[in-house]
Amino acid sequence: MTVAVLIEGLTVEFGRFRALNDLSLAIDYGEVRGVVGPNGAGKTTLLDVISGVSRAKAGRVLFDETMELTRASEAEIARSGVRRKFQKPSVFEALTVRDNVAIGLGAKPAPDGPEKVARMLETVGLAGDADRLAGELAHGQKQWLEIAMVVVAEPKVLMLDEPVAGLTDEETERTAALVKALRSPGRAIIVVEHDMDFVERISDRVTVLHEGRTLFEGSMARARADAAVVDVYLGR
């Protein structure tokens, strides 16, 4: 098993605020990693740095043990196979659902693109809405559409930022099934989520972040028992 994403000594600052503080982390291929932590712990910032949206002050992020992501552009990172779903559903509202997914194929789509798009739409259950404008979709549908957009290019690293926020129980259920189906030996999946039950169901290991550092790493069950984690969450 190889390391998909290796993070070493990562520090990110916004002005005087230190969002990530000398963080180190390794995520393997084939694994689903849950990242949890209270608000402001640095979860989204972590994804921002990996996907190239934010710049690190110090430290490095290695993808596939070779590619240094902290110096690459967002587009380069995406093209190398690292894809991310944003926290706020980010779809192209003035385009059709089908167009959205087709754009997800990337700048140089393969010849079998249309078939891939059709299959993907089936998978997320949006085939019937393919020619509607994305802006007309319901919130949950937008979440899935965005997942479809990032998954259709078969990324090696898939990052999901709060995939079930605002979804109904039933929708959450379907999302969990979807994530489980996406798990593959050649792919690392990182899930940032507040819903602990959801994280427990889909992830192999969890990383608990607190004030920009790793507070705990291991299984969800052990995390729930960890004194420090409980302390942070319940604010004792």
Partner: protein, 536 residues
């Protein structure tokens, strides 16, 4: 021979001091001369100036009245006699007795005659002025032309002057009038005195002495000239730096006033109010309305209308801003670019409403006595009161705005929403209400900018259009959401502009500064101060 004449005059002056009979003016002839065209007038004025020191007190008073009437155009040059319109009615120009008004008009003073008549009046007033203040003013008028006046004028005047302080001053001025005297010691004293009030004019005056034969012959004289020039030069350099700083500060204060309202609104809501310039214009119009109201209701307070108008202007324009926010800006909240166009339309509307309603002419502002003119501080460095007013006003506004933002609940809310709108909303900050209040605050500040500008610029419907680009550039350069950034950017832009202007001209200065800002923003889009935040 020259010496002898001077001695004679001195004796005369001494005699005058003991109220001995003096030479009388030929009043009738002088009055007729003054009304006989430009050449006659200059002769009459010269006669009056030359004879000022030897005139009787009655003649001096008459000379002051006549020259004053010429300057104020209260004289009527008739075919046979001329009359002066005095507060107590028409009087004869020669006898000052009551007379029927002559049917002529006042002669228009040519540029050549005006200083001659002014000098004649000042010379007469130095003797006939009723109060020490009047005489001191006359002395100041004479001082600039001291070298061209007969020295005995000052000597006599000093001898007659009852006020000890003024007497000293007259003697001093008299001293500087001796620059071309034959007594080297007096000339050196004159040089020292002139050099003590350094200005470019003084420099020219003394530098001219380098070609004087005495400069080559008398080493003491040459040393005095050189020392005087060196001293003036030093002060001129100081004053030139002071001028540049003052001009830069003055421009910066205008930029700051124009930008501060925009900074708050843009920082908070991310929208640009293109009608901001028109709010500045409206502020000036409201100040005008206050002035006119005071003129009608309480003329005694008219001198203070600028101060009294502050709350009125702020509240009025804040109300306009709140109305604009509630009717237009709020509805376009998610579309900042549309807000841009909509507020542009509003600016068009305001300009044309004012144009149709009030007219296109410049408004007639009374310049309060405390804002007119300025004070020469050192060398060529003049502090003009209207600019100083704008600087102080900007300073006070800065402190007040800072206090509002840091010390009031509204300020706290504004800062909270500026930093994180969603979070502020979550913890119960009424964001929409804060938007409205902040828009009002920003608009009110723009109105105050208009008030601060009305002693400096013309007030007409077009006046606002010049401000939007400049003030927005200041806001963006400083960094959105930081008051300190706006201040620093305004200071920097103002100073750089003033530094470039004498080198490449005003157009190039403006172009260079704007291009510098555009370039800077390409390199650092977040501006000087703003914190780099998460992009999404």
């Amino acid at each position: 021979m020259r010496m002898g004449r001077r001695l004679g005059l001195l004796l005369l002056a001494l005699a005058a001091a003991w109220h001995s009979p003096a030479l009388a003016h030929d009043r009738a002839q002088i009055a007729t001369q003054a009304c006989s065209g430009a050449a006659g007038l200059s002769e009459a004025a010269a006669t009056l100036t030359a004879g000022a020191s030897s005139a009787t007190p009655e003649d001096a008073a008459w000379a002051a009245t006549l020259t004053g009437a010429l300057l104020d155009k209260t004289i009527r040059c008739g075919a046979r006699a001329s009359t002066i319109e005095s507060p107590s009615g028409f009087i004869d120009a020669a006898t000052l007795a009551k007379a029927a008004p002559a049917d002529g008009s006042a002669p228009v003073l040519s540029l050549k005659n005006r200083p001659l008549v002014e000098t004649a009046r000042a010379a007469a007033t130095l003797f006939a002025g009723a109060t020490a203040g009047e005489r001191a003013a006359a002395l100041r008028a004479l001082e600039r032309r001291a070298a061209s006046l007969p020295p005995e004028l000052f000597e006599t005047a000093a001898a007659r002057e009852p006020d000890a302080g003024l007497k000293e001053q007259i003697l001093g001025v008299g001293q500087s009038a001796l620059l071309n005297s034959s007594d080297v010691a007096k000339r050196i004293a004159a040089i020292e005195r002139i050099a003590a009030q350094p200005s470019r004019r003084a420099e020219t005056q003394i530098a001219a002495l380098k070609s004087d034969p005495a400069y080559a012959k008398e080493p003491v004289f040459a040393a005095a000239v050189d020392a005087g020039l060196a001293s003036i030069d030093r002060w001129l350099r100081v004053s030139s730096v002071a001028n540049t700083l003052y001009n830069g500060l003055s421009f910066a204060s205008i930029l700051f006033m124009a930008a501060v309202g925009l900074a708050i609104i843009f920082g908070l809501m991310g929208v640009i109010n293109l009608a901001q310039g028109e709010f500045i214009m409206l502020g000036a119009y409201v100040a005008y309305a206050v002035q006119e109201t005071l003129r009608a209701v309480a003329p005694g307070l008219l001198d203070w209308y600028l101060i009294l108008a502050i709350p009125v202007v702020f509240l009025a324009i804040a109300a306009v801003g709140v109305a604009l926010e509630a009717t237009l800006v709020r509805r376009l909240y998610t579309r900042p670019l549309m807000t841009l166009l909509a507020t542009w339309a509003v600016s068009l509307l305001i300009v044309n409403l004012v144009r149709v309603g009030v007219g296109t002419q410049n408004l007639q502002f009374v310049t309060p006595s405390w804002l007119a003119g300025g004070k020469l501080l050192v060398g060529d460095f003049i502090v003009t009161w209207n600019r100083l007013f704008a600087i102080v006003f900007a300073g006070v506004t800065l402190v007040a705005t800072w206090a509002v933002l840091k010390r009031t609940p509204l300020g706290l809310n504004i800062r909270a929403v500026t930093q994180n709108r969603a979070m502020a909303g979550c913890i119960g900050v009424p964001t929409r209400r804060v938007d409205m209040m902040a828009f009002g605050l920003g608009s009110g500040l723009a109105g105050l900018a208009g008030l601060a500008l009305c002693p400096i610029y013309n007030v007409n419907p077009q006046m606002g259009s010049n401000f939007v680009i400049d003030s927005f550039m200041v806001v963006v350069l400083g960094g959105v959401g930081t008051l300190a950034g706006t201040v620093v950017a305004a200071l920097g832009v103002g100073q750089i502009n003033v530094l470039i202007e004498p080198l490449y001209g005003a157009v190039a200065a403006k172009v260079i500064v704007l291009l510098m800002i555009v370039g800077f923003l390409q390199w650092r889009p977040e501006g000087l101060y703003a914190v780099k935040g998460r992009r999404k």
